[in-house]
């Protein structure tokens, strides 16, 4: 990206001026000069398109890890007001609705567990269905699946997957309201029947990590983190059901846009006014997919606990937090001194409520919302806390962001060689897809340290802990 086309407003905040004749809202980009310079120019095109959608409140924004997506850029944030003709965009949520990370803290330390990590890796690989074509053991009939879509992680806990206390640390207590299973196609439901409790493929993973560094002792204490501690992060989403809902509504809303009076600058931004029948139909289906994702991560949490217990008899895994990063959530934000109910799209962006937010669990209220920036399997991940006065509708980065395409990565790395290389660094990879490993090579991602540092410098979230991967189950 050529930075000369931007105005630098603050050290880590930039704007994109309108071209002559261009009619759109403001575009703001959070990031440092090196991170922005590494982004594709299409990020600017995509976020400028978002800024032209009706009913946008404030600016369309990108996070420091932004990269070229489809419709919205990955790392895009945009809030819309239904009362001002604001829209809900299927392209602003994406195919993997409510993809996110469940983070578990353990009572184990690396020094006590190291010798059995290979055994743990093997058992996790057996227990966690991962990769394309893999199904889970749980097969749901139509009534049960509808109950999942209504109940989310709360449904899973009622079925014996995990503990009620988990739900305190899951967004919306594990169940978003407004889910409409009737708005979900039969094909979407059929795709999900064998996919509950599965990890998926691509950039999804289950990692066993060690807390290598604490940045913020007070927040770390609140989050129950200390150096040397074993952590588990589970990254996945709403599986086939969410993918099919994304597919179904993308085409439906793209076709409906013209008769709804919306001029789409990019068909992938397929959207409808929040108050329109089409908009409400999508919101009901999207919320069903969010509940599906929350249930999926709850089931995987249960499978992970059971596996840890087989290897370490005294292991306890508590839910630290569960955050989604492909969603549209209805939230109240103060705009010009007045509270307004907004539909906040975060596509590849994490919610990051500031300290004191009423929706945070009491344990974290003083520290701020746990924010997880997932890095590559060879580098590490960060846990952050929502910053005071977050200026981006309480949003922050969600990952390292890709530095090169999957095709480029395939030409540079080979799965087996990469697995051996990582093993020499003490990182155990278990996978059924050598192609997937090569595509996800650590070198194919941006510098996660820089993304986390800039996220903090931009005032979006504060670094709390750095996690180094020890075991990674890849789909």
């Amino acid at each position: 990206m050529n930075l000369q086309q931007l105005h630098q407003l603050q050290p880590f905040l930039w704007s994109l001026p309108c071209k002559p004749g261009e009619k759109r809202a403001e575009v703001l980009l959070y990031g440092s000069a090196p991170l922005l310079a590494s982004m594709d120019d299409k990020v600017l095109v995509q976020i400028a398109n978002v800024a032209s959608l009706p009913g946008l409140v404030g600016a369309a924004m990108t996070m420091p890890d932004a990269h070229w997506g489809y419709g919205f850029p990955i790392g895009g944030v945009a809030a819309f007001d239904a009362e001002q003709g604001g829209v809900i965009s299927a392209g602003g949520v994406g195919f993997d609705i409510s993809c996110g990370i469940r983070c578990l803290r353990s009572n184990l330390n690396l020094q006590d567990t190291a010798s059995l990590l290979p055994k743990l890796a093997d058992k996790l690989f057996q227990a966690i269905p991962a990769g394309v074509g893999k199904e889970g053991n749980l097969k749901l009939n139509p009534e049960q699946l509808d109950a999942v879509l209504q109940g989310g992680a709360q449904w899973a806990v009622r079925q014996g997957y995990g503990h009620a206390v988990d739900l305190e640390y899951v967004e919306e207590h594990g169940c978003v309201s407004g889910a409409k299973p009737d708005n979900v196609s039969d094909l979407a439901k059929n795709r999900q029947r064998g996919e509950m409790g599965t990890l998926g493929s691509g950039n999804h993973y289950l990692e066993v990590q060690v807390v290598e560094r604490i940045y913020d002792n007070k927040a770390a204490l609140a989050f129950g983190l200390h150096e040397g501690q074993i952590i588990v992060s589970i990254h996945c989403g709403s599986r086939g059901l969410g993918h099919q809902i994304g597919t179904d509504y993308l085409v439906l809303l793209a076709k409906a846009a013209s008769h709804l009076g919306i001029l789409l600058p990019d068909r992938e931004l397929a959207c409808a006014p929040i108050k329109s029948p089409e908009g409400q139909q999508y919101i009901g289906a999207m919320n069903a997919a969010i509940n599906c994702a929350l249930a999926n991560r709850q089931i995987l949490t249960h499978l992970t606990r059971a596996t840890f217990a087989e290897v370490y008899s005294h292991a306890e895994l508590e839910t630290l937090f569960d955050v989604s990063h492909n969603t549209c959530k209805t939230e109240t934000h103060v705009i010009d001194g007045k509270p307004r109910l907004l539909h906040v799209h975060r596509k590849g962006a994490t919610r990051a409520f500031s300290p004191g937010h009423a929706l945070l669990p009491e344990r974290y209220r003083a520290a701020g919302q746990p924010v997880i920036i997932g890095g590559s399997m060879g580098t590490g991940s960060y846990i952050l806390a929502g910053a005071s006065e977050n200026p981006a509708f309480a949003s922050a980065s969600h990952g390292a962001g890709r530095a090169m395409s999957r095709r480029q990565a395939l030409t540079r790395w080979h799965g087996h060689a990469l697995i051996n290389e990582l093993a020499q660094q003490g990182i155990l990879i278990r996978t059924c897809s050598m192609r997937g490993v090569a595509e996800e090579a650590p070198g194919a991602y941006k510098d996660v340290d820089l993304v986390a540092e800039v996220t903090e410098q931009a005032g979006l979230a504060r670094r709390v802990a750095f996690l180094r991967p020890k075991v990674c189950v890849k789909g």
Binding site: G71, D96, G133, K134, H243, V251, S433
Partner: protein
């Protein structure tokens, strides 16, 4: 004479697929091969089971996305992977068959394709050849 070929183009996070052929139907078949070659090695898939896909669509761009997404949906619904494709098109009516088999040990597990997007989507004739392309989300 059939000149069906599959290709890819670059995208930061996902994958751009291209299908080319002497007819629009062949371009759609080649696009499907490009998608399923991301998922597994097509040469190892036994085309023992046939599934049928039918839909109506007047817009060629939307027809490509509908075709690919119905294939992906059926594959996941049936627990299958496809390697051969036959597409017919009469006006707005599309009739297609996909041949493949259930997932089994021995099939390479590549990368899951979540869906075909409307981004960089186009179906057009370039000289004597038809080309169908879009970004697929992985």
């Amino acid at each position: 004479m059939s000149r069906l070929s599959s290709h890819y183009f670059e995208h930061d996070a996902d994958i751009g697929i291209i299908g080319r052929g002497t007819t629009v139907e062949q371009a759609f078949e080649a696009a499907a091969q490009a998608v399923f070659a991301i998922i597994t090695h097509l040469d190892t898939v036994q085309p023992t089971t046939v599934i049928t896909i039918e839909f109506e669509e007047t817009d060629l761009d939307f027809a490509l996305v509908t075709w690919l997404n119905q294939l992906l949906g059926k594959a996941r619904e049936q627990g299958m992977v496809f390697s051969r494709f036959h597409v017919q098109h009469f006006g707005s009516k599309w009739h297609a068959e996909a041949l493949g088999e259930k997932w089994r040990a021995g099939l390479e597990q590549g990368t899951e394709v979540k869906g075909a997007t409307l981004t960089m989507l186009s179906v057009k004739q370039i000289g004597p050849e038809w080309e169908a392309r879009c970004i697929v989300d992985v």
